[in-house]
């Protein structure tokens, strides 16, 4: 078996006396589509934050593309190909939509060894990404002028601009309408076709089920299930955890 | 090292620390609990000093009694300042940069106004207890320090009781962490913050009065307290009154010992050293997790 792209090994995280993550193991192979679900407060976002370096885990380790991530701060992990989107979109409000996407191009792609991004190249790349998420008509606008779903798309496009190997999409669809959810799922599938491994953290089961090849369930900081989606949702413990809340 | 000197330095430091606790109480509420970085607080304290001075010199009122008389006025002033701050910055979530500049402007303007009215000469008050002291063996308690310390501790205890025992007090403690929960309980977070900020400014009235009992003041004295009160507030763990008290006593003793053994002109550097050290090593404060 080949070494997985991402390996999370016995990861634990506490906040004071509260155990947010308890010995979590997770392995994701190149090109996979993984869904991560769990009730509110189960530690999903904490796991994302620990993988991306926003938070530091006390014990356990994160290995990505064969390299230990522990001790690297968030931007160093982004530069190595680990990108994320935020649960609540956090665009740079003082910049135009296009400039929002330019930031990772300038700081991630250009900073990677062997890459030099000229201005024309960066402009072209920006427009390409904006076309992909159908925001090209609003390139010069402020993020303030965007709708909720457009804001989510900008968030994903910005994560994509870092040219990641792995994308962690943290609740990209919360609060969106039926067709908008479908829109985002299609977008993520297209990204996956381009060879990007994706972990989708989501509450909307319809979206998770249609997207994921594998489902991971987190409850109270522990992983209670990991396997084929249709099998996992029949699991007694999983049903119990969801009905019990 | 002279033991008597050390004992009296520590006593003076503890008395001073009690006073520092009163000075910092306001900041502990506004900065620690409400997340409002009111760097103009020392200017309000100085305002309290000068009002106590005016009432003392003009009508012969005891400075501490004067400060209690002025509590409602300072409360109203605090409510007004918070309203301006809320309408101009907090409502739009722009409090960081501009809010800081706003309070800095307030600090400066208050200082200049005091300067224009009272000039650059040192001003002091008269009261029966200034000048005499209480001696127990080798220990000496100057009343000029003892009375303010007792008043400060009384105020501090009242605040602690108010915050931990009353509904509004507990709402104040909760307001910065969970405004939504307050809303669900039909409590308007803005109103709670206004009350709390007004109280924090009201403490400045008393802190100002005891400041002028302890030492003569000039308008620029407030600036010396900026580093000190933030050092205490951070060291005490933001927003914890017991932590604030411990930190204040500690800083008082360290400063007093420094000034007895190395000279008073070094004392201001102590607080900054402690502030930087705390920020670098233990930003959650002494009692923090």
């Amino acid at each position: 078996m080949t070494e997985p792209l991402l390996r999370v090994n016995r990861l634990s995280k506490r906040f004071g006396g509260f155990v947010a993550l308890d010995n979590v193991d997770l392995a994701v192979t190149q090109g996979e589509r993984v869904g991560l679900i769990g009730p509110n407060g189960s530690g999903k976002s904490t796991l994302v934050n620990c993988i991306c370096g926003t938070l530091h885990n006390e014990t356990g380790s994160v290995t990505f593309a064969g390299e230990k991530m522990d001790g690297l701060i968030a931007h160093e992990r982004t530069r190595r190909g680990l990108a994320r989107s935020f649960q609540l979109p956090r665009p740079f409000m003082s910049m135009s939509v296009a400039d929002n996407i330019r930031v990772p191009l300038l700081y991630t792609v250009a900073a990677r060894v062997g890459h030099h991004v000229s201005k024309a190249e960066a402009d072209a790349r920006c427009m390409e990404l904006l076309k992909l998420v159908a925001l090209d008509a609003k390139a010069a606008r402020s993020p303030r002028d965007l709708t909720q779903v457009e804001m989510r798309k900008l968030e994903l496009a910005r994560a994509m601009a870092a040219e990641p190997k792995l994308l962690l999409a943290d609740e990209s669809m919360a609060g969106l309408s039926h067709s908008e959810v479908e829109d985002i799922v299609q977008l993520l599938l297209r990204l996956n076709e381009r060879g990007i491994t994706i972990i989708m953290i989501e509450h909307i089961m319809r979206a998770v089920m249609s997207f994921s090849q594998r489902l991971v369930v987190l409850v109270s900081g522990r992983k209670i299930a990991d396997g084929k989606p249709d099998e996992v949702i029949k699991d007694r413990e999983v049903i119990g955890a969801y009905l019990g809340q | 090292m002279d033991v008597n000197l050390l004992i009296n330095a520590v006593i003076a430091g503890l008395l001073l620390g009690g006073f520092y606790a009163a000075v910092t109480a306001g900041i502990s509420i506004s900065f620690g609990m409400l997340d409002i970085v009111n760097i103009a607080h020392p200017a309000f304290i100085l305002l309290g000093s000068y009002i106590a001075y005016s009432l003392n010199v003009g009508f012969g009122i005891d400075p501490i009694a004067a400060s209690i008389l002025m509590l409602p006025a300072f409360y109203a002033l605090g409510a007004f300042v918070y309203q301006v701050y809320y309408v101009s910055f907090e409502k739009f979530g722009q409090e960081s940069l501009r809010g800081l500049a706003f309070f800095f402007g307030l600090l400066f303007v208050t200082e200049v106004i005091l300067l224009l009215i009272f000039g650059v000469d040192y001003r002091s008050v008269n009261a029966a207890y200034i000048g005499s002291s209480l001696s127990i063996g080798p220990m000496e308690f100057p009343l000029r320090l003892l009375v303010p310390c007792v008043v400060a501790l009384a105020m501090f205890a009242a605040l602690e009781v108010f915050l931990s025992r009353t509904f509004i007090g507990r709402a104040v403690m909760a307001v910065s962490q969970d405004p939504t929960a307050l809303r669900l309980m039909a409590v308007d977070p803005t109103r709670i913050k206004r009350i709390a900020f007004a109280i924090s400014i009201a403490t400045a009235s008393m802190a100002g009065a005891i400041l002028i009992v302890i030492q003569p003041v000039i308008p620029s004295v407030g600036r010396d307290y900026i580093g000190r009160i933030f050092a205490i507030c951070v060291l005490g763990g933001l927003g914890s009154l017991p932590g604030t008290l411990i930190a204040a006593l500690l800083l008082g003793v360290i400063e007093s010992v420094t000034s007895v053994f190395y000279g008073p002109s070094w004392a201001p550097a102590v607080s900054f050293g402690i502030l930087l050290l705390t920020l670098a090593v233990r930003p959650s404060g002494l009692l923090g997790r």
Binding site: T54, I73, A74, H75, T78, R79, A83, F86, R90, F92, M93, S94, M95, R102, V103, P104, Y107, T108, A110, A111, R158, A159, A161, A162 | V37, I39, V84, S88, F89, S96, L97, R98, L100, A101, F102, F104, G105, F108, V109, E111, V112, I113, L115, L116, S220, I226, G227, F230, A231, V234, S265, P268, A269, F272, G273, L275, L276, L279, A280, P283
Partner: protein
């Protein structure tokens, strides 16, 4: 506009200003002009950290004074070379000293930049407001050190006697004016370069959202340190010639709170997002204060600055530049 062209234009404008003042031939104009130029440097420097990154520095007076006292220190060393230096080093030192003013400016910048680095390193990893508080206290403590340091005059202050004339230019104040003009060109060019470079984007992401910035690969701590060092160094450089301008320095004048207030008020009033904003604010406020100091009193003019600062942050958050943008866009719509 390309940077070399811009610098050329700045030099032309600076030279024109200098020649006009020289033609008027009134030393007072040079004295007043120097102060205004000094404020342009201070406010532009403040804005690199405050306006671009959103980190408030209340300690401008401290950084300025570091430059001032670097000069005072080296001036005093030069006065006492025979006593301070071992015999073996004396000839060498006599050849080096007295250091020319441009070298003092450079050294003042280095000292202030290093202090900025230290303060930044200790506090910039925390919430932004801790940095602001630390800078506020920094000025008080640096002043404590200077007051206790008798070598540079302690609380009594120190006299620095500048030569009355320099070759070619004539009056010494014109030389000082010219140096400050160069510092203005340096700082404004710096600010404008940052605005148009990758660094400018990085700074803006820090101001907008640091967490998102890190997720986009922006090394926020390093960028903040760059801004702190640059900003502090420029302030120190602005302070270095001050002893030669004023002739007598005491801690109260070098650490004057009005430097801190002005370097915040000027960018806030001019506009923080454009390189010309701080300059605009400095020219307006600086000139106003020069006039007010002569006609009314210096305390009253500080009151005006404070009230203007409060008024602008409440009513016109984007400063004069922002007001101008709103006005022109309204006109174009009408």
């Amino acid at each position: 506009m390309r940077t070399p062209v811009f610098v050329l234009l700045e030099i032309v404008a600076g030279a024109a200003l200098f020649l006009i003042l020289r033609a008027v031939n009134n030393d007072y104009l040079f004295f007043a002009g120097y102060t205004v130029l000094q404020f342009i440097v201070l406010s532009t420097a403040w804005n690199i950290l405050g306006g671009y990154c959103g980190y408030v520095n209340f300690g401008s007076a401290g950084f300025f004074a570091l430059g001032v006292y670097t000069s005072v220190f080296l001036y005093t060393v030069n006065q006492n070379l025979e006593e301070l230096m071992p015999e073996s080093l004396l000839p060498l030192m006599q050849a080096i000293f007295p250091l020319p003013l441009p070298v003092l400016i450079l050294l003042g910048g280095i000292v202030a930049g290093l202090v900025g680095l230290g303060t930044g390193y200790l506090t910039l990893r925390l919430r932004g407001v801790f940095f602001a508080i630390a800078t506020l206290a920094l000025a008080v403590v640096l002043q404590t050190f200077v007051v206790n340091w008798s070598f540079v005059g302690g609380s009594r202050g120190a006299y620095v006697i500048p030569p009355s004339t320099v070759p070619v230019l004539g009056p010494y104040i014109q030389y000082l004016f010219l140096l400050m003009l160069l510092l203005v060109i340096l700082s404004v060019t710096c600010a404008r370069l940052i605005e148009r470079s990758r660094l400018g984007y990085g700074f803006a992401t820090i101001r907008d959202d640091e967490l998102a910035a890190e997720a986009c690969g922006v090394p926020t701590l390093r960028l903040k340190l760059i801004a702190t060092v640059l900003s502090g160094a420029l302030m120190g450089m602005a302070g270095a010639p001050f002893p030669y301008y004023i002739g007598y320095v005491e801690p109260g004048s070098a650490f004057d709170l009005s430097y801190a207030v002005n370097s915040i008020a000027m960018p806030m009033i001019g506009g923080t997002t454009w390189w010309a904003g701080p300059m605009l604010g400095a020219v307006l406020l600086g000139t106003l204060q020069q006039i007010a100091t002569v006609t009314i009193s210096s305390a009253v003019n500080l009151l005006i600055v404070g009230l203007l600062l409060i008024g602008f942050v409440i009513a016109a958050p984007d400063g004069i530049v922002g007001l101008w943008h709103t006005w022109t866009s309204r006109r174009s719509k009408a």
